[in-house]
Each structure stands twice: as structure tokens, then as C-alpha cells.
Amino acid sequence: MKVDTGHGLMTATTISPPFGMTSFADGKPDERALVIAAQRGSSESFAALVRLHQRRAYAVCRAIVLTHEDAEDAVQEGFLHAFKALDRFLPDQPFGAWLYRIMANASLDLVRRRKVRDADELPETIPMPFRDPGESDELRRRLNMALTKLTDRQRSVIVLHDVEGFTHGEIGEMLGIPEGTARSDLHHARAALRRILKDVRSDL
């Protein structure tokens, strides 16, 4: 799993347990026990699960929706769906995989709703994600421009894979596509980004 520890940004991957992991290091709560307690009605246990998974859940949603605000909405919706469906979850299954699938579905629903609503006013560029004042605006502008050339799915796949470290299989499961399609989307997305960024360089 690719984890960026070099650029100083705190990513979800460095904090949350890996995808599907159900046991924790010493001193941390056992996820399965938390799930069972939450299923029995313990709000504190569900809050602990939220605490454990919200960063990674945000990352999944952020890869699919266009803005930070939409990602926040999708995360909240996703956790709400998860809470309502918790009694149907089998504790022996990996909770993370189940939860992130719900998050991906909540995000895809949000994207679909936004598309219907904004059908008449399509944005020219992908809106800026969460701002870090230390980063170059120019870099963001160019990368954003490159990302607009990708399809929604290609963008989601490359972000989920290269930023969050999900495997092709996990991405396929989350987005409801075959693993091979996820692999091919990633390949095409990378090729497109390389091509576009090369064009940008030649323009400089």
C-alpha cells in the first residue's frame, strides 16, 4: 500500500487501519468488538468506529465527488446509511470493506444528483479541493486542468489507487466494476495525465 510520509501532509492512510483490517495494535480497540457493541446499540462504539474510519471514508468519497464539501456530505450520508444497515452486517466480515462500499455508493448517488441538478451549468474545470496554503496554485491549476480531461471513473480510480493505496480489486468492488476495468481505467488515466502534462510543459 502506497503511503506518502514524505511531504508532511497527514493522509488518511497513515492514521486509519488498512483496508479490511479487523485487528489493531496493542492499546487500540478491537474493531470487531466495537461493531458488535454498536450493533447492540452502543453509540460510543459507533462513535469509535466513526473515529477510526472517517479519514479513509473521506478519502474514498473525495476521490469520487468533485468538491471537499460534497465529500463531507457523502461521508455523513455514508455513515448514516452504515448505522441504519448495521444490524445486517456480519461481524466476521471486514468492516472497512463494507463501510467503504457504502461510502462509494453514497458518493456516486451524490454525483448523480449533482449531475441532474447542474445539467444546464456544467463546470469548465473541476473545483479546487481542500486548500493547503503551502502548495503552489499553479501546480493545482495544471493538475486540475489535466484531471478535467479524465472521465469521472478514471479520476476516481487513479485517486483511489495512487493517493489512497487501494488495490484494483478493492476499487472494483467499491465502484461496482470488474477488477480488470479498474486496472485499465488506471492505465488510461495515467497515460492521459502524462500526455496532458507533457503538453503543458511544451507550452511553457
Binding site: 506518502d4 501532509l9 497527514m10 459507533f46 493547503d132 502548495e135 495515467r190
Partner: protein, 134 residues
């Protein structure tokens, strides 16, 4: 990070650029606040359930108790009335012989024969007819 970092044709560089672009908000304050918002919405769902249930439990219990009481009372009264009627019937003088009251008509020849053999009231039409034949 340099502007030209992404222009190296290297997938790792692209990934690094994407990571900076899609970085999750840093700082525990943000995540604590998001967790609070999530749990507030969850609590709404929970409260919705229990409040709704709680709102209906007491009236439902009261209604069930009243219904049970009314049913019990009605059954008791019906039983008492049946008993009263039975007693009244027993105490009142019968306008027809008890045998008729018990068995108002003889439906077939077999019964008629039995009654003939064991003796029967002359007021009974069947018996009268049989007596005449005799």
C-alpha cells in the same frame, strides 16, 4: 513542491501531485468536528426511533388495558346472562311435557317404535297415531 515536479513523466510524481491535491484536511479539530456532526445525525435517527416508539408505547398500553377490561366485562356479562336464562327456564313451568321440551319431535320410525315400547304421552301426535293403529 516545484511546479515542474509533475512534468517528469514519472507516475510517482503524478501520484505525489495528486496526493497534495486530494489531501484530506489535516488537524484533529476538523475530524473531531466532523465526527460530532456525524454522531449528531446518527443521534437524530436514534432519537427518531425511540421518541416515536416512546410516544406510542403508553397510549398503546393504555388502549390495550381498556380493551382487555371491556372484553372481560362483556364476557362476564354474557356468561351471567346465559346462566340467568338457564335458571329462569328451569324454574318456569313448561307448557309442554319435559320429554317434548327435550325432544320436540320424533323424526323417524325407529324413535317412534322405541317410544311406543317404553310408553309415551298421548299428547304427542306420533304416539297418538300409533296408539290408534294398535
Amino acid at each position: 513542491m516545484s511546479d515542474f515536479r509533475l512534468l517528469s513523466h514519472d507516475d510517482d510524481e503524478v501520484a505525489r501531485g495528486l496526493r497534495s491535491l486530494y489531501a484530506a484536511p489535516a488537524g484533529d479539530a476538523y475530524w473531531n468536528e466532523l465526527e460530532s456532526r456525524i454522531m449528531a445525525r446518527v443521534a437524530d435517527v436514534e432519537l427518531g426511533w425511540w421518541t416515536e416508539l416512546d410516544r406510542w408505547v403508553r397510549p398503546a398500553l393504555a388502549a390495550a388495558a381498556v380493551l382487555l377490561l371491556a372484553t372481560g366485562l362483556a364476557m362476564f356479562r354474557a356468561h351471567q346472562m346465559e346462566a340467568d336464562i338457564a335458571v329462569d327456564n328451569m324454574l318456569s313451568s313448561p307448557s309442554v311435557p319435559i320429554s317434548t321440551a327435550i325432544r320436540p319431535s320424533l323424526d323417524n320410525d325407529r324413535d317412534a317404535r322405541i317410544r311406543f315400547l317404553f310408553g309415551c304421552s298421548t299428547q304427542e301426535p306420533t304416539c297418538s297415531a300409533q296408539s290408534k293403529q294398535r
